[in-house]
Subunit: 210 residues, 2 copies
Amino acid sequence: MGIQERKEKQKLEIRKLILDASIKLFIEEGFGNVTIRKIADLIEYSPTTVYLYFKDKDEILTALHDVGFQKMQEYNHDLPSINNPLLRLHKMGENYINFGMENPEFYELMFIMDEPMKVIEETGCEWKPGDNAIKVLKATVTECMEKNYLIGTDPHLVSLSVWSFVHGLVSLAIRDRMEKFVPEKELLLPMMRQSLNWFVNTIENPARNQ
Amino acid sequence: MGIQERKEKQKLEIRKLILDASIKLFIEEGFGNVTIRKIADLIEYSPTTVYLYFKDKDEILTALHDVGFQKMQEYNHDLPSINNPLLRLHKMGENYINFGMENPEFYELMFIMDEPMKVIEETGCEWKPGDNAIKVLKATVTECMEKNYLIGTDPHLVSLSVWSFVHGLVSLAIRDRMEKFVPEKELLLPMMRQSLNWFVNTIENPARNQ
DNA sequence: TTGGAATATTTACATTGTTAAGTAAATTTG
DNA sequence: CAAATTTACTTAACAATGTAAATATTCCAA
C-alpha cells in the first residue's frame, strides 16, 4: 500500500532528524551535550516523541555508532587502488588514525563506549560493522603473508595485533594520555604517523628486500 | 600542635573511608554504582558530608586513579630482578596486561576515562603517576637499544609505540571489542599474551642472535 | 560557661532518562 | 458522511543524580 510506504518513509525521516541532531550536539560539544531534551529541542518535538522512534538513548548511540562505521569506510575509498598489500595495510593504518583523530566522538562510540556493545548483546549479539572492518583487515594481512611481506602463519593473531596497535595510538591520544609524550598538539598526529611507520617497517619481513 | 595533627589524621581517615567505599562500589558493580549518595550510605554519613572532603565527584575519581597507579606498581615488583632488558620489557607488558584485565575499573580510570585528566588539567597539569610509569618504560626501552636488543635511535618513539600496543590490547578487551577475534572468554588472555609474544619477538633485533 | 570555629545534616534545585496518561488529528469503517 | 479507531504527539510526573545554601550540632579555647 502506497500510504503505508509513505508513512514508513516519514518514520525514517524523523529517525534521521533525531540522528542528525544528536550528531550535531556531540560534534559541537562532546557527549555531555547529547541529551534527549536537547535533541528534542533541536528537532522541535517534545522529549517523549523521541521515544516513539528509538527505544532508549542507548539505541540512538548505537545507530550513531553505525553511522561512524560508514564514515570510516569513506576514509578507505582509496585502498583498492593500492596493489602492494603491505603498503595497503600501512594506508589502512593511516586512514584509521586520521579517522579517529578527525572524528573522536564517532571513534569513541565505535571502539570505546560501552553502550553500543550492550545494545548489540541484547539484540542478536552480532557486531556487524565491526566484523566487517575486521574482515578487511584480515584479508590484507593474509595477503601480506602469502606474498611474503610479513613473516608468520597466523593472520588472525597479527591482525589482532595490528588493530590493537593503531587503536592504542588513537585511544590514548583522544583521551589525552599522550601529552607527556607529545606536549605540542600540532606534533601529535605526526608523531602517531611516525609510530605507525616504525611499526610497519619493523614487522615487515626483512628478507624481502629486493 | 598535637591536636591539630590528630584532626588532620581524622580528616585523612574519612577521606580513606570515602575512597574505600567508592572502590567497593565500582569493583562490585561498575561505575554506574558509584554515586555520592551510595558512598554516603556506605560510610554512614549524609551525602553532602562527602563534599567536605572532596571538591566534587571528579576529585574522588582522580584520587582513585592514583590508587590504581599504586596497585599497578605492585604488579611490577618483580621487574628489578630481570637483568635482560628485553625480557624485562616483555614482563612489563605482561604485567600491564594482567593488571588491566584483573582491575578493569582501575584501568579505565587510569587510561580511558576523561574525568581524572580534566581534574589534572585544572590543578597544575602534571600527570605525575602516568609520567612516572612512562619514565620506567622509557628507561627500559633505552637500555634495550643501548645493548642492541632493539634497533633504532629513538627510545621515545618506541616507548610510545610499545605502550600503545599493550593499551590497545587491554582497552579493546575490556570494552568488549574482541569477541569476534576471541569468542571464548577463557581464550582472551592467552590470545593477548600470544599477541604480546609476537610483538616482542618481531621488534627484537634479528641480528642479535648469539 | 560561652562563643566561635569545625563538622554535619536538612532542604532544596536543576538536570537527567524515562513512563503513564491525555489529546488532537488522521484514517478506517460502517 | 458520521462514528470508531488508530496514529502521532504532548503534558505531567517520577526517580536518580550532582551539588549548593541554609541550618544544626559538636567541640574546644577563653
